[in-house]
């Protein structure tokens, strides 16, 4: 398995704390930032960006080519983890109402970011619609018909029901965050019950085929009833679950199961890329396994993510010296400002498509656009962190630092 294929969310906090705090949630010790979370979230942001561009050499570095799960799983899991980490503390210290108020402010920020992206998207689409009239694609261009009734389209977009391709993650995130107060409140009471309810909702959704409809037709690409499982699981891990699992995580049996499963997934994905190998796949297995749905977060995808996460936690300790290395700095910086960088990534993906369309598309240009995009993401993350640490510091010395979760990322 290629070494690029294993970037994944870090989980448990290794500092030993009394598991005696058992009934309520156990908050991780404040202090040093968990850099592994930033690192892998940064990586997820880069991978999501690359996956949103037309395929190029860099696409081969994204994990979805080596197994079932992809960067979205990492992103949602870490988001759940950090959201619980930040707002769980707020709930314990300041109470339910204050924590809810802070969460709602965050939801509003994400919503505004989404609407902003939609505006840019509209501009791009309108441009393409007026310029591009290749008869080869007269059918596909019918997708622009929504431009003929902006009154409906824009209202539907504000209701999160009309979402262009690649703009599905933020609406999912908004819905998940909306329910975070309830999730945290349940977790405070009994964390395992909260996780159990989440699993139940997931199972019921599969059984009854629940979904949210979209406009003009169809459904939400990321079914929130299913994807909440990863988010809640992340929150559960953050609030002490990871510690309680540490014995399972450190067992050799777990390790070998994970390795075996990852190899299996790798082999299966190999048959997608090299059709000549597909004769090796038993038909029975294919019929049982396919399709591996992303919309409903297939169990195979979830398991793949778990296996990756378990191995990452095992082999990448919290105090790994590499986390301080300047080489990983760009990734960590991006992970620390994830809302901004995520939106930037979506915008850059639009812009990248646009540049490729206008300039043309050799393999070299494709790779270059991805690379330039990543450099811009890094640069902007650097500027944001400069604002935070230098520009804003002098101005508001008296103000207490507000807990601001970058897309619920902890600036703890």
């Amino acid at each position: 398995m290629s070494s690029i294929a294993d970037p994944v969310a870090g989980t448990p906090l290794s500092d030993a704390r009394a598991a005696a705090a058992a009934p309520a949630i156990a908050l991780p010790v404040a202090g040093e930032r968990e850099l592994r979370l930033d690192l892998f979230r940064g990586m997820a942001l880069w991978l999501i960006f690359i996956d949103h561009l037309p395929a190029n050499i860099l696409t081969w570095f994204t994990i979805r080519n080596y197994g079932f799960s992809d960067a979205t799983e990492i992103f949602i899991f870490i988001s759940g983890y950090t959201a619980a980490f930040v707002y769980g503390r707020a709930m314990l210290e300041a109470g339910f109402v204050v924590a809810t108020a802070r969460i709602m402010r965050r939801v509003w920020q994400i919503y505004v970011a989404h609407v902003f992206l939609f505006t840019i998207f509209l501009a791009e689409i309108s441009y393409v619609a007026t310029r591009f009239e290749n008869p080869l694609y007269s059918e596909e261009m019918g997708i622009m018909d929504f431009l003929k009734q902006p009154d409906v389209t824009i209202v539907q977009a504000l209701l999160l029901r009309f979402r262009p391709v690649n703009m599905d993650v933020l609406p999912l995130y908004i819905v998940l965050m909306l329910f975070l107060p309830i999730i945290l409140w349940l977790m405070k009471w009994k964390a395992d019950v909260a996780l159990g309810l989440s699993v139940l909702l997931y199972a019921l959704t599969w059984h009854f085929d629940w979904y949210l409809t979209a406009y003009p037709s169809g459904f939400w690409i990321f079914n929130p009833f299913c994807w909440q499982l990863l988010f809640v699981f992340g929150a559960w891990c953050a609030l002490g679950g990871a510690e309680r699992m540490s014995r399972i995580l450190s067992s050799r049996v777990t390790m070998w199961i994970c390795i075996a499963y990852l190899l299996f997934a790798f082999f299966v994905t190999l048959t997608w890329h090299i059709p000549q190998l597909s004769f090796l796949m038993p038909k029975r297995l294919e019929q049982w396994m396919y399709p591996i749905t992303k919309t409903d977060l297939d169990v195979l995808r979830f398991a793949h993510f778990l296996a990756l996460a378990a191995l990452t936690v095992r082999f990448l300790p919290r105090d790994w010296s590499g986390l301080k290395s300047p080489w990983l700095r760009p990734l960590i910086l991006c992970g620390q400002h994830s809302l901004e960088i995520f939106c930037l990534g979506v915008f850059l993906a639009f812009a990248g498509h646009f540049v490729l369309a206008e300039v043309g598309g050799g393999a070299f240009t494709h790779a270059l656009v991805s690379l330039v995009g990543i450099l811009i993401m890094w640069g902007v993350a650097w500027v944001i962190s400069w604002y935070k640490h230098t520009a804003d510091k002098g101005a508001s010395k008296t103000k207490r630092p507000v807990i601001n979760a970058d897309l619920a990322g902890g600036s703890v």
Partner: protein, 257 residues
Amino acid sequence: MRPGSGAMLVLTLLAGLAAAGSARAQDTQKDVASQTCEVPPYLLSTESTLPKVAEAIKNARPLTVLVVGSRSSTITASEASAYPAKLQAALKDKLPSIPVNLSVELQNGKTAEEVDHSLVRLVEAKSPTLVIWQTGTVDAMRSVDPDDFRGAIDDGVVALQNAGVDVVLVNLQYSPRTETMISAPPYLDNMRVVAQQHSVPLFDRFAIMRHWNDAGDFDLFSTFHGTDMAKRVHACLGRALSKFVLDAARLDQAQQN
């Protein structure tokens, strides 16, 4: 991290981008000169077979083909240049001893489920040997639930097979300009699944067109307005599809028997 060095790097890359831009202008000129549109063999090989087609050819009976598709199966106002017509020409060329009839039934703007209802009726009316079913585009544009889409093509393929005809599925076009608006992957995946389950050959139009774009045979990003490129792409598609059909019919074996 030194901001200075980062800026230099970005500048260098932008310069590279500009250079690539001018290189591409030359590529486009080259395109016009050599229109090869080779398709790598793995994109034209299939494990599934077309026994009815093979039988018809073996017994020198007329080969009747029915193409059921949406608007991407034609070129507005130049139907004779669209891939079905080119397919017929290529088949006639390769099977000079038997008559090849081909008719096209366009189901504009209909999803797979909506086409399902008319499939059997069409087969009864035309009694074809082979139905080439191009689908997926309308479903992708309307973002029909992929499970429903799979169910619909599943039903359609079963109905066609029960009606005693061979089936070839044709998937979506590779359309880079609308990639940010139409999500093709779930529909491509589901068509592959159904094709596999029912041993139906799947003509991977998407992968083939993407290959041409990547290889520089066609610049599918082009804003060119005329029908010229559409005609050339359809000519290449028709030829590739004829190869694919004859290959899936295992013609060599059929002739030996």
